[in-house]
């Protein structure tokens, strides 16, 4: 069993939430929490090493029907994937672009990340998502439930019944046992069910009279605020991935003025130009607008060159991508709620479009002034695999290295980006902010992302010097999860079980009875079997509301 007390001594600590910037400090741990001091127990000598709060991923796709569909679609990727061999006490697994459940836990922990937010869960298949998350070891998890194309919610917003809409959203969150609300391509996924899209924010969604993407965004942002959810509405803007979508993104920020919101994978929403031939980075415009909106947080959704599988509730985009690549495509529409498209994709440095995407993600992270408001993600697996985060960290910390990389990309792309002009270099403290402190704060997880007393003892200890590739963050020397040494020298040493954060926002008692007849018309399963029973969420941790 794990020791109940542990000390980490002599390391340089980066804990920006508590104003600690590289000071040599001891860290004391008791019963999985960070405390002032302990007597006895194991001591880890971290002299010469650097200590970070365990990483927090604000936006990733690690479990659920769509990801599992992707796994089935790309068996070839597993053949070249990292292998985790079965050992007593440790399950087998495969890494690659869509790691299996066990491997997901090992890879995140192995990299020093201890909390992950699964960013897209339909209510209808929430039971499945939780089943999968059961099998993701070590790390703590949370989920966001998809809401911006749920027809019950859209109908209520169209009718102006915001109060009722709030109760329905609250009921659905608890039915799904989710932690927050995700809005994907508001209205567009719904329209896709007729093979259409929602491109213009102020035009009615197909099939509705007055409801527009804008009113959906406003409505959901207000509901999430009113419910006091720890994490604001998590918005995947309209027109993802399309040249010229900068206008939509900036307009979305205007719609959100005065509201809390998290804009997901901003890179995919920061393009100028009119078409693929003229596409350019619009990171400057987007970052400028974003800097002026302190109510917002975002994550990079950075792109790394290489294999990926794109996987999003944005069905129309995926069909377009399928037609562009002519390779594999899967689509999965979920009655009444959402849909999902899956297309394997390779980002190539010699491709103009891909090179612009690669630069745009980095530019956003360098142009957004406040590191607390921009989080490190690749929108795994869409822009690249989460286990490649250390590559991005190096790019952020080393302007010279960025310039070297710029020489590899399609020459034409260099005219479409500003990355070469950006000299900013992230400090270790900045890295601690964008990988842990910032996302934890955005998610409202008060005991995550820092190393103050009372925090969860999720601690990542890196060797003090970079590896042969100049990457400091490839292999942590130790990773502690809940005070237990789960990773040592890159090897999984202990397989623990993580928690799952959920919220239980209040909804009017009549909500279920209001929904029942609607449900019975729209769905093919029994209403009684729709909500996920709380007993089925292993390690459920129901969080307080604001």
């Amino acid at each position: 069993m794990s020791p109940t007390t542990l000390r980490v001594t002599g390391g340089r600590v980066y804990d920006p939430a508590n104003g600690v910037d590289g000071a040599v400090r001891d860290i004391a741990i008791r019963d999985g929490k960070i405390v002032d001091s302990v007597d006895g127990g194991r001591t880890i000598d971290a002299s010469g090493m650097v200590i970070f709060p365990g990483g927090v991923d604000v936006h990733s796709h690690v479990a659920g029907a769509a990801l599992n569909f992707a796994r089935g679609l790309t068996p070839e990727n597993y053949r070249a994937a990292r292998r985790f061999l079965h050992a007593p006490g440790r399950r087998q697994g495969l890494g690659g672009i869509t790691p299996t459940t066990f491997a997901t836990g090992y890879l995140y922990a192995g990299m020093g990340w201890t909390t992950v937010n699964e960013a897209a869960m339909p209510v209808l298949t929430a039971r499945h998502t939780h089943e999968e998350l059961h099998e993701v070891p070590i790390i703590d998890k949370s989920t966001l439930v998809l809401m911006a194309n749920n027809e019950f919610v859209l109908d209520l917003l169209e009718a102006g019944e915001t109060e009722r809409a709030r109760h329905v959203v609250a009921w659905l969150i608890w039915a799904a046992k989710a932690y927050g609300v995700k809005a994907v391509n508001p209205g567009g996924v719904n329209a896709w069910k007729w093979g259409r899209n929602a491109r213009v924010l102020h035009e009615p969604v197909y099939g509705y009279e007055t409801l527009t993407p804008a009113t959906i965004i406003e409505g959901l942002a207000a509901i999430v605020d009113d419910l006091g959810l720890p994490h604001p509405v998590h918005l995947h803007c309209n027109n993802l991935g399309i040249p010229g979508n900068v206008e939509t993104t900036i307009e979305t920020m205007k719609i959100l003025e005065g509201r809390r919101a998290h804009l997901a994978h901003l890179q995919f929403h920061a393009y100028g130009g009119d078409d693929w031939g003229t596409m350019r980075s619009a990171a400057v415009e987007v970052a400028e607008a974003f800097n002026a909106n302190p109510n917002l947080t975002t994550d990079a959704g950075a792109v790394l060159f290489g294999d990926s599988v794109t996987l999003t509730a944005d069905g129309p985009w995926q069909h377009l991508l399928y037609q562009l690549t002519g390779r594999k495509w899967a689509n999965l529409d979920v009655e009444n709620e959402t849909g999902c498209g899956i297309v394997p994709y390779v980002y190539k440095d010699r491709s103009l479009v891909n090179a612009v995407q690669w630069a745009t993600g980095l530019e956003l992270m360098l142009l957004i002034d406040d590191p607390w408001r921009v989080h490190l993600t690749t929108d795994h697996p869409n822009g690249g695999c989460f286990w490649r985060y250390p590559e991005i960290i190096r790019l952020l910390m080393d302007a010279e290295f960025r310039k070297e990389q710029l020489r590899q990309i399609a020459p034409k792309a260099r005219e479409r980006i500003v990355l070469g002009d950006l000299d900013r270099e992230y400090t270790l403290s900045d890295i601690a902010v964008v990988t842990a402190a910032g996302p934890a704060r955005a998610l409202g997880l008060t005991e995550k992302g820092h190393l103050g007393v009372g925090a969860d003892a999720d601690v990542t200890i890196y060797p003090g010097t970079p590896d042969g590739d100049g990457i400091l963050f490839s292999y942590p020397r130790y990773v502690l999860k809940g005070g237990e040494v789960v990773v040592e020298e890159g090897d999984v040493r202990a397989v623990t079980e993580g928690k799952e954060f959920i919220v239980h926002p209040p909804s009017d008692e009549g909500t279920a009875e209001y929904l029942r007849p609607l449900f019975e018309k729209a769905y093919t399963m029994s209403f009684a079997n729709y909500p996920v029973e709380i007993e089925r969420v292993k390690g459920a941790d129901v969080r307080p509301l604001h």
Binding site: R127, K328, N336, M525
Partner: protein, 319 residues
């Protein structure tokens, strides 16, 4: 390179105005498919229910399901692939050889008419059964239909899904995918998952005599598999978990009686559209559940010297 375009059954109920059943006989094998999901129910965008939908049945013989269809297309046995491939060409306005088409039992005019109707649909759905996926061509036949559905999305909305058969076979697919990355036929003998349909599929393994022990649950291969496979099962230590003493039990070394899924054993099962549903048993079985027994066997295995796979750095092997 193809695609898999699917949806939950509720989407079909609510939206599909054109439905094709291919190589299946839902009326007898999935009796409530027509009435609960696909044909007769009124849907949100199909308010007239059955009247609002056109149903096509494609099969080699006129099953009772044909009566429920508006159009019945009878093709000759083992011509599914030819017909589907022709349809893929026709939707793209490509030329095909009418004489070769006629050998399928259907005429070019019939297929062109089908394509015209498909393109006019607002939301098309295709379901296929074992009459497609288990006849000559097998997974390529289902692949042909899946590709046709995917390609139809260039013209209108189309989805396609298999009419999965027994019980929770869909759940097995789902569970294997998230735990091992692969949907079936997963070889864990090197300590990590390997996948190669045709090599690590049960019938192939058994017919080749590759296995030296077998553990069977939730199936009765002794009643359904080809004879050489059954003979091999009988020749090796076979262990069976089943609520009844089955054909497989009789050729096995160990049989353990277990509770009946969904009747006296709780848990989760997946519908053919990968919707997970909770099971609500009405009876309390005198027997343990499969879950309990497998866990006990696993623990009993764990008490024995651990098999510890080693990293393979050496090439060439017997698998």
């Amino acid at each position: 390179m193809g695609g898999k375009v699917s949806c939950t059954l509720g989407e079909v109920t609510n939206r599909a105005d054109f439905i094709i059943f291919w190589g299946g006989n839902p009326a007898e094998c999935h009796p409530r498919h027509f009435t609960k999901y696909s044909l007769t129910p009124k849907g949100r965008f199909v308010p007239d229910g059955r009247k609002g939908r056109t149903a096509v049945l494609v099969d080699i013989r006129e099953t009772p399901s044909a009566k429920a269809a508006d159009i019945f297309l009878q093709l000759r046995p083992s011509k599914d692939f030819e017909v589907l491939t022709t349809l893929r060409a026709l939707i793209k306005d490509q030329r095909v050889d009418p004489a070769a088409v006629a050998e399928t039992g259907l005429t070019l005019e019939q297929l062109q008419d089908l394509v015209d109707r498909m393109k006019k649909a607002r939301f098309g759905a295709m379901f296929f059964g074992m009459g497609l996926s288990m006849t000559r061509g097998k997974h390529m036949n289902s692949g042909a239909l899946l590709n046709l559905a995917a390609e139809m999305n260039a013209f209108t909305k189309f989805v396609c899904m298999p009419m999965r058969g027994h019980g929770n076979v869909t759940g097995a697919d789902v569970v294997l995918r998230y735990t091992t990355g692969y949907p079936f036929g997963v070889n864990l003998s090197r300590g990590y998952p390997r996948y190669n349909p045709g090599e690590f599929s049960t019938v192939d393994l058994l017919v080749r005599g590759d296995n030296d022990a077998a553990f069977i649950l939730g199936a009765d291969p002794g009643a359904t598999m080809p004879q050489p496979a059954i003979e091999h099962l009988a020749s090796i230590p076979t262990i069976v978990l089943d609520p009844k003493v089955t054909h497989t039990s009789r050729l096995s070394r160990v049989h353990i009686t277990t509770a009946v899924t969904g009747v006296s054993a709780p848990g989760t099962a997946y519908r053919m559209d990968e919707i997970p549903l909770p099971l609500a048993p009405a009876l309390r079985s005198p027997y343990p559940t499969d879950e309990e027994v497998v866990r006990r066997i696993r623990r009993a295995v764990a008490r024995r010297p651990a098999w510890q796979p080693v990293d393979e750095n050496v090439r060439s092997a017997i698998a």
